[in-house]
């Protein structure tokens, strides 16, 4: 099993009357709420945490892209990856990912990832995402074009990384007369690609066809099981079994010396993540055309929206946060692995407003007392013939 330390870089505080005054920490949450002094402090603190994860032996350190939001403050994940590239040695630098559905110039992503591959000496992982629904509002990009833009930008970037001669690109959304990206990537033919899925069967099939790593997003374990089963099924339809490492389970993780202490402390952070940081109306998350009608039907019918209003205890019960002592978290993780069959964990340890010393404690306890239990175990593929 591979263990990756994932950061959202949240803005660490929200006003006490946030619930009454604001619909969401995203899109319309006023930038006047951002204190520049706090910003400087936490950007550097968060980079320290990512660097420390490398020293503790995490396999990957992960950054991602969000815009105009207190939920995550990395409008350019590639800048953060660049800051990490020369200060870390072992961990893979995972950009999860660039929101290529939003970008006007996907060529820029091809160029920056190629540069990062050099700065990190071939350690970069290139995630591609469509961008969250509300990011289509603040980019002025038509959400009904989201999937076709994502697909076209992806095809263009892959070709830009693999073709050795200049070529022309006559797409619907992008047109270039000269594509000839310098530098070439260190990893050949190109860095590994990771893509998140949240229930779309189209995405599962696409990842299976391309043999890309399929990541879950925060959701109850039964829902994640459906997604991973869907991905495995799509691989099966293509007559192969995916390596468990092709499935990456994203989950908030919180550890303390004892089970009781961990829960006592984690509750406010986990609830802040789900109740406040992810607070957003359906019309903002799913603008028209952003998902297919069948996907929306599945989401609304399948209760994906209702997890937003769960109690803390239910969130823990449903595997939406791993909280406890090292023994307890080891046990919970082993059970989830049995259920879901993943081979990578994307652990979010800076959960919303978790202070630095608590993040560091979770990181250390997890690295020293949880990870070793899984290092020697090669999981059996779920659903393998008996």
């Amino acid at each position: 099993m591979k263990f990756n330390f994932f950061h959202l870089m949240p803005y660490p505080t929200l006003p006490d009357d946030f619930d009454e005054r604001f619909e969401s920490p995203s899109l319309t949450y006023p930038r006047g709420q951002f204190d520049p002094a706090v910003g400087t402090e936490v950007y550097n603190r968060y980079l320290d945490e990512l660097e420390y994860a490398d020293q503790l032996g995490y396999d990957g350190i992960c950054v991602n892209e969000h815009h105009q939001s207190a939920y995550g403050m990395m409008p350019s994940p590639n800048i953060m990856a660049a800051a990490l590239a020369r200060r870390t040695k072992q961990a893979r630098i995972m950009v999860l990912g660039n929101a290529i559905g939003l970008h006007q110039y996907p060529m820029r992503v091809a160029e920056e990832i190629a540069m990062l591959d050099h700065l990190s000496n071939g350690r970069v992982v290139s995630g591609f995402v469509r961008g969250i629904g509300w990011e289509y509002f603040n980019h002025g990009v038509n959400p009904t074009h989201s999937r076709e833009r994502f697909n076209e930008a992806h095809d263009l970037i892959i070709k830009a990384w693999t073709e050795l001669e200049p070529f022309e690109w006559w797409g619907k959304h992008y047109e270039y007369r000269y594509v000839n990206v310098w530098p070439r990537t260190v990893q050949q033919p190109h860095p590994p690609i990771y893509v998140p899925g949240a229930g779309s069967t189209e995405t599962m099939k696409w990842c299976a066809e391309k043999r890309y790593t399929f990541m879950s997003v925060y959701a109850p374990k039964q829902l994640v099981k459906r997604w991973f089963d869907g991905y495995r099924g799509a691989c099966g339809d293509l007559d192969y079994q995916p390596d468990p490492e092709k499935m990456a389970f994203a989950v908030p993780i919180y550890l303390a010396e004892t089970h009781e202490q961990a829960h006592r402390e984690a509750k406010q952070h986990v609830n802040m993540l789900y109740d406040k940081m992810l607070r957003q109306g359906l019309q903002i998350v799913n603008p028209p055309g952003y998902v297919s009608e069948s996907s929306l039907r599945g989401m609304l019918g399948g209760g994906a929206a209702s997890f937003m209003s769960m109690r803390y205890e239910d969130r823990v019960e449903h595997g939406m946060a791993l909280v406890g002592s090292p023994e307890s978290v080891t046990e919970q993780l082993a059970q989830l692995q049995d259920l879901l069959g993943f081979g990578q964990v994307m652990g979010l340890m800076c959960i919303a407003d978790t202070p630095h010393h608590r993040v560091v404690r979770s990181m250390e306890l997890f690295a020293k007392e949880v990870m070793p239990h899984f290092r020697s175990v090669t999981p059996e593929p779920v659903g393998a013939a008996a």
């Binding site: 002025g140 038509n142 019309q283 028209p288 055309g289 929306l296 609304l300």
Partner: protein, 270 residues
């Protein structure tokens, strides 16, 4: 008043293929053709059209991607919709028509009259979208939470209660999402406008009526006024105590206004 209780209007459903997509066309009445272009809320037959069918052959198609008209890969923007409707008129053998459009439909109607002035007998724009007025932009219906929609559309939001389901079913939600997806396809960006439309409005030759409800919380009055300013001879009529829902809120007033202009003498004959 021709909207009174006479025999119920017989609405016929026609399905025709226009280019790459099937269109549902609802049709009633007899007389010269009147093409009704529906707003972003959706198509279908609206009760206010009953009154118009007493004097006109009323044609009410669903725009591609709305309600029962298929999404058409060839129709991606309002410019494509103009060609779509010219093609539809051609297929039906209609040389000229009175064109009535509401909101999104008003925008399409204006573009049609700019593109092919000779195909439009009279033009009626009901709180039309389409112009770029940065100091008075339309409300963002895409970002509005569902519970705010009635107060945005109606002067008296209690009227909405009778027209919209209280507790929408999953099917209702999917249907709304379906129509909004078509709306977004045509109007997300530029947001409900064509920056070049205003300077082209001089081409409109038809007698034109612009109707603006005096409590329109979606499209500010500046839009109606700008249309009137730029279209030679256009007249503005303000409906009192009415929101952007127009005929959803004051069906009889809207029917009368359209009928008096389109069928009456004050619009002038061509």
């Amino acid at each position: 008043m021709s909207t009174g209780a006479s025999a119920p209007v017989q609405v016929r459903t026609e399905r025709l293929v226009v280019g790459e997509g099937e269109v549902r066309l609802l049709r009633a009445g007899s007389g010269p053709p009147l093409l009704f272009l529906h707003p972003a809320g959706g198509g279908g037959w609206m009760p206010f059209l009953d009154g118009l069918s007493s004097r006109f052959d009323v044609l009410a198609p669903d725009h591609p991607g709305f309600d029962e008209s298929a999404t058409n890969p060839e129709v991606e923007g309002v410019d494509d919709l103009v060609y779509h409707y010219l093609r539809l008129l051609d297929q039906l053998g209609i040389e000229t028509a009175t064109v009535v459009g509401a909101s999104l439909g008003g925008w399409i109607a204006a573009e049609l009259a700019v593109h092919s002035p000779h195909r439009v007998d009279k033009l009626v724009l009901l709180s039309p979208a389409g112009l770029r007025i940065p100091e008075a932009p339309p409300a963002d219906l895409f970002a509005a939470p569902p519970e705010r929609i009635p107060e945005l559309l109606f002067h008296d939001p209690s009227i909405a209660a009778g027209l919209m389901p209280d507790e929408p079913s999953l099917d209702d939600i999917i249907h709304i999402f379906h129509n909004q997806t078509a709306f977004a396809r045509y109007a997300w960006r530029p947001f409900m406008n064509n920056p070049k439309l205003e300077r082209r409005l001089y081409r409109v030759g038809a007698p034109t009526l612009v109707v603006w409800p005096d409590d329109d919380r979606v499209i500010p009055r500046a839009h109606a006024e700008r249309y009137v300013e730029r279209i030679a001879g256009a007249r503005l009529e303000v409906i009192a105590g009415c929101g952007h829902a127009l005929y959803g809120e004051k069906p009889e007033e809207i029917t009368s206004a359209v009928l008096a202009f389109a069928a009456g003498a004050d619009g002038g004959a061509r």
